[in-house]
Amino acid sequence: MASDSNPDSDTEPLEPTADPDSDADQANEEALRRIADRNPTRLGVGRSGPRPTTDALLEFRADHGVARDAVHSRVSDGLIDDLGLVELRTTVADTDQYLARPDLGRELDADSLERLERECEPAPEVQIVVSDGLSSSAVEANVPQLLPALLDGLEGRDISVGTPVFVEFGRVDVMDAVGEELEADCCVSLIGERPGLRTAESLSAYLVYGPKRGSATAKKSVVSNIHDGGLPPVEAGAELVDLIAEMLAAEASGVDLREDDREFRTE
């Protein structure tokens, strides 16, 4: 790959720096490896002339492809059935509209409102709302483990849980609509985070006490970065049980619950 410099050129062209055959370069290569391995950033990727190497370029594009696919694919019907979720949707028509109109992703469509009344238990202490959000992969990867852990934990504390629902094209705040309709004491939204290039499988849990349409983001508590490389889903389930018990006891969430709970990750 690294050819000799063009003899006609006045300046030395940019070529990959490492030549694995020389000892000095080998030591350099090891130092580079140490930097690259220690860092979560894409360091020590090298270059071809002024541009990234082909490997680094394609790896970047591959990670971006996974992230894009997570945004644009939908949670499978099989998963929704397996978890026994009542399937609802918002007033959003398709993914394009979902991305452009967050306001439409906060309200249920007419059929879903009816279904909610017909099929879901009213006035539970806790209502669980699962949404694809910005990553269906996050739901697929985490909810099958997180949900049973959460349900078991709440049952163990004698906290009543309503009928869990899945809301397609839901934003975080759709839990306000669901919770308000059902008159739940508190609502938990399990929703796919905006995917990064490191992982497309990160899930967030938002919690609100006294769900009401239009309530401020600051009134919500959040547990984010739920995935195998961050907060593993089963541990997240246990953490959520503790937080819900605290919310129910204090009758508050978000900044009303903990003053230092100010840093919110928005969608």
Binding site: S5, R42, R47, P52, V71, R198
Partner: protein, 453 residues
């Protein structure tokens, strides 16, 4: 539909200056989300026609948010140099466009009218200009600024090195700095976004970057982009900062969402001038971005481009060293895809430079936006051609802390080569001393962070 109003020039199809400005905008999802965009392309062009005939005086006298309700309006109005305004107040917005694009108009001619312009006038003319108009007129403007280095001089293109780390780990931050410097980037600033907004973290980051800059004698400046009050506390306790940073909005209510107001910014500017370790005179750094006001419900029914212009009107008060729009960070509900991001990027840099502020750009996108690396490489080529002062760069374009993508360290050398540009002079000389720069190009050593170990 046809409503006559008392506002002169607006015509009988629209009710107000605010409505004409909003509907004359190129398509943006943020204006649609706010419910103020044109309903059709025909209506959009009708609004552009109406706008073309509006006189600058009408725009001055009808600020999009009334002066008695909004201190940003007052800052903009009070900064107008009246004799120059008097000379141009009867121009229409079309006259202004034609002055800017005329043969023979250069920085001198633009500088001659600049103090008479308000942010609303600048926003208005932007809405009449095509992408190539924007690039052409931007290339005619030269707005340099000086902190430890001078950026924005003709023939130069600078870069912010953004070595963010998801755990604020300073050894990782320094490694990413090493790698960036080895690609020749970092002459605009070594600027770190911390995860944790605390005096302790801010101080740690400022100390680590400052020590590195001193140890290797790098002609640049450091900055930690925590909230301005956090930086002020850190600086008061002795943290070594070259610049003071804050995000700005184009309305008082928007700045309130950011936890700042003009008094606080005045105080920060005053402190920066007295306590920053840099040689100045320009010691402030601001970031902006279309849509910030709507996302904070502080937009007053005004379109996102006009509010963005007002950010620059506010920034100008503080003679900043760096101002950049973080154009594609906000998401698809404000700028939907690569096309909208590219348009907004051209608009923002043009508007900043026409305000007379030294403007750069974070050409960036998130993963839920209809854009990819090719789109922002396109934008970088356009704005390097147009003469933006600087770009943001991160390792391989991937910021693992802020979870978005921007230009790569690699892009600097490609843009210098494409347009025959160079880093800021003092930094370029330092690169040459480090054997990283020779005869207008990076050398074979480039790209190896172990040089700085």
């Amino acid at each position: 539909m046809a409503v006559k109003t008392t506002t002169p020039d607006v015509g009988d199809r629209f009710d107000s200056v605010v409505e004409v400005l909003a509907k004359a905008n190129e398509p943006k999802t943020g204006d649609e989300l706010a419910g103020i965009a044109a309903d059709s392309d025909a209506e959009r062009v009708a609004a552009k026609r109406a706008l073309a005939g509006i006189r600058l005086e009408t725009l001055r006298e009808n600020p999009v948010v009334p002066a008695d309700e909004d201190e940003v309006t007052r800052v903009i109005q009070e900064a107008v140099r009246e004799p120059i305004y008097e000379e141009i107040k009867d121009w229409t917005v079309a006259d202004l466009r034609e002055y800017l694009v005329a043969m023979g108009t250069g920085e001198r001619e633009i500088a001659a009218i600049r103090p008479g312009l308000t942010s609303e006038m600048i926003a208005a003319v932007t809405k009449l200009m095509s992408n190539l108009d924007l690039a052409l007129v931007t290339s005619r403007m030269e707005v340099p600024a000086r902190c430890n280095t001078t950026v924005g001089e003709r023939g130069t293109l600078s870069f912010r090195l953004q070595p963010n780390d998801p755990a604020d780990d300073v050894s990782n931050i320094v490694d990413a700095t090493r790698e960036g410097l080895s690609y020749g980037v970092g002459d605009a600033v070594i600027g770190v976004n911390p995860v944790q907004d605390s005096v302790e973290t801010t101080t740690r980051i400022l100390e680590a970057t400052h020590e590195f800059i001193e140890a290797w004698d790098v002609p640049t400046q450091n900055c930690c982009l925590s909230h301005v009050t956090t930086q002020m506390d850190a600086i008061r306790e002795g943290a070594p900062a070259d610049l003071v940073f804050q995000s700005l909005a184009g309305t008082e209510a928007g700045n309130d969402e950011f936890g700042v107001d003009v008094d606080l910014l005045d105080e920060a500017h005053d402190l920066a001038q007295r306590r920053c370790v840099s040689s100045g005179p320009n010691v402030m750094y601001f970031e902006t971005g279309q849509g910030a006001e709507l996302s904070g419900d502080a937009h007053h029914g005004v379109d996102q481009l006009t509010l963005e212009a007002r950010c620059y009107g506010l920034a100008k008060r503080y003679d900043p060293f760096l101002v950049n729009t973080v154009v594609g960070f906000i998401g698809p509900e404000y700028l939907y895809d690569g096309r909208q991001v590219i348009r907004a990027g051209l608009e923002d840099v043009f508007m900043g430079q026409l305000h007379g502020i030294p403007m750069g750009i974070d050409a960036c996108y998130t993963n839920h936006m209809g854009a990819d690396q090719n789109d922002i490489e396109n934008l970088a080529v356009l704005l390097a051609a147009a003469g933006a002062n600087y770009f943001i760069t991160v390792p391989m374009g991937d910021d693992v802390m802020l979870n978005y993508q921007s230009n790569s360290y690699h892009d600097a050398a490609a843009l210098w080569e494409l347009f025959d540009l160079e880093p800021a002079p003092a930094f370029r000389e330092w690169l040459a001393e480090m054997d990283l720069w020779r005869e207008g190009r990076l050398t074979e050593r480039a790209g190896d962070p172990t040089i700085f170990t």
